[in-house]
Amino acid sequence: QTTYNIAGLADFTGPFADVMKDMTGCRKGVLDWWSDEVGKAQGVALRVKEYDTRYDVAQVASLWPGIKSELDPVAILGIGGSDAAALQQRLPNDKVPQVLATAGYGFAWKSDSWVFNARATYPHEAAAFYTWLQKKSGSNAPIKVGVISSEVSPAYVDIHKGIEKFAKDNPKILEVVETVYTEAQPTDLTQQVNRLIRKGANVLQVFNNTASVVATRRALQSLGKTNIPIVMSAHNGLISSGKALGGLEQMEGNYEVYGMAMPTEDPTTARAFFEKLRTKYKAQVSYTSACIMGMSQGLIVARAFEQAVKIKGIKDVKGEDVRAALLSTPMSSERSFGVLPNIQYSKDAPFPTEGMAVNIGTVEKGHYKLLEQSVPVPLLSKW
């Protein structure tokens, strides 16, 4: 059995340390599963080695050349912005593709990329949600959103810039009443939220972090306006925010949206796959959106590698072969056990631009619920 290496970039001590255990556990689980059930038959195995980068560009930059010479990996499993920033310029020379766990960023929206995201960008996903929400409301009036964001990280700014662009291009669907800026750990958002509501916001978008969701929710509670929903993303979604609020019932009626499976308790194929990773492959993880992020990037890499082996044989598979497979071969939703929708990469963007769909989750009567599946992502131009 020929073993190929995958480099794992992780953030155990930086800003995303809270989700790292599930994410890295799941992506390792996927590779273990693949090696055992798919690769063994072909005579190949995939092995991941995790490095802590603290989500620091400097650390990634000085670490990577060493990883490359030590592991000679066929692919990189990254987390997000810092990994893309540090490596996107040099990967074309190193000829190693990188697959990120997060949704895409505006800054990385470049053609002919060696960095890939499992999902479209955050604004894409949000736009899909608003389009759906408007349809559901049955009215022609645009959805009025109050955005709560932060300048702590440029990625957050990137997100609200994108959604503002969407609103500008689609005034019939969406209107941003105001973007409120907070600290990483907001003190009290009552005044700000009150202002957004009085400006007519009928939904609040909080895509930055869990602490902001908690503060926003508390503000709504103290204003007695819990009927106004919050929409979140995968990294600060309902379950983790609910935990931070002391219970999932606190998140009643809010939404989360992203283009992957949602961590419901229903017996989905994704869930079954997860259970297998946990029991058979001893992944010490729980079923959260972070875990699903890890599974999705693991699956993308594993399936692309599988394809590359098919083409190249088990010897001498290189990073560029994996990338070629990524670009040439679509991955159907079945092949990812429903963890991801159908995925087809092109050279236009680092994320699948066509046929993308998102799922929408909510909390109903204290229980997590998948509300809508395969909501199509509308067109969104670069911002």
Partner: protein, 350 residues
């Protein structure tokens, strides 16, 4: 103190940095080793050394400003960022060659530093140190909120590889040599400044700014100059950084980076260029050591999970810095000097 038997016979000799033949040989071998590194060492060492060289330029600037001129500066990463952004803009939007973009990047950072240098005229001590944090905050705010066309906003700036006389420096070794040559020039310059007129008045202003004024030193100008020079170094380092990572964004230049820079100056020893270099080496080495030990630990001991191991390594890193400060609060350079002195005095203890 010189080793016994070495006497300066001219004033120029008295000033020289390299005083003995063995020192000269050591220095020569060291430089040779640095140039041979990409051939004799693995990719990881070259990468680490490249980042050390860039850090060394930035920290040498900080040493001039903080160690020599006595102004604690917690904004060095912001100055570095200013240089990185300026170089990146010149290189991409202005299509300027390396040898123009890099120095101008330094000058832009110096101009940014000058603003705080002028504040340093009135504000002193901790107040100044904490004020320079504002540089960090303001820089962050400016980049994000100026029109994206100016400084890239939240998108950052992608940089093409450095080009010099037809070479494209897009390999690890190419970037390494670029950093090595620039670092050599900058560090040699720092030694030059430190031992001539300007370095002396920096130190004079640090030791006693009242007396300095009465020696005919323009204290205002000197302090501003120290900030300017320190920021210039940061800017050059930032420019190298831009060519090294080829993508600059605001989260590469944060307060925590500035804090690490200061930590390097402290561990190495305040006031000496050599100390700054030692500090950079020791701290970056410790950082890299821990980041490379972690993965192997996780891999080989399956009962250790990543989150625990890496967090625990952070404790070690913090402990190492605190430990250095406790046992050698005046820096490694100080310890070295004492060692040297007692070695030369041996066998007489004092």
């Amino acid at each position: 103190m010189d080793p016994a038997g070495v006497f300066a016979t001219s004033f120029a000799q008295d000033q020289a940095l390299v005083r003995t033949r063995s020192q000269a040989v050591t220095l020569g071998l060291f430089v040779l080793f640095m140039f041979a590194l990409p051939w004799i060492a693995d990719a990881r060492s070259v990468a680490v050394m490249t980042s050390m060289l860039i850090t060394a330029v930035v920290v040498t600037g900080l040493q001039i400003n903080t160690g020599l001129a006595g102004q604690i500066n917690l904004g060095q990463a912001a100055f570095m960022g200013a240089g990185a952004y300026a170089t990146a803009l010149l290189a991409t939007k202005g299509s300027m060659p390396l040898w123009i973009a890099l120095p101008i990047g330094g000058v832009c950072a110096a101009a940014f530093g000058l603003v705080f240098g002028l504040a340093a005229v009135r504000i002193k001590g901790f107040y100044l140190a904490l004020t320079t944090i504002a540089a960090q905050i303001l820089f962050h705010f400016m980049v994000l909120n100026l029109p994206a066309a100016w400084m890239g906003g939240s998108n950052g700036i992608t940089v093409e590889p450095a080009r010099l006389f037809g070479w494209v420096l897009d390999t690890d070794a190419g970037v390494y040599y670029l950093c090595l040559v620039v670092a050599c020039i900058m560090i040699a310059g720092a030694y030059g400044v430190a031992r001539s007129r300007h370095g002396r008045i920096f130190a004079a202003v640090r030791d006693d700014d009242v007396a300095s004024g009465m020696m005919g030193i323009n204290v205002v100008r000197t302090k501003a100059l120290a900030f300017l020079l320190g920021a210039f170094y940061a800017g050059i380092g930032g420019g190298l950084w831009a060519y090294y990572v080829r993508f600059v964004s605001i989260d590469q230049f944060t307060l925590i980076h500035s804090i690490w820079f200061i930590a390097m100056v402290i561990v190495g020893g305040m006031g000496s260029v050599t100390g700054a270099l030692i500090g950079v080496f020791v701290i970056r080495f410790a950082q890299e050591f821990f980041t490379s030990v972690g993965p192997s630990l996780v891999e080989n001991f399956s009962f250790l999970s990543g989150d625990l191991v890496f967090a625990a390594l952070n404790i070690f890193l913090g402990g190492i810095i605190a430990g250095f400060l406790i046992f050698e609060p005046r820096g490694l350079m100080h310890r070295w000097n004492i060692l040297k002195r007692s070695y030369r005095m041996w066998p007489y203890p004092y």
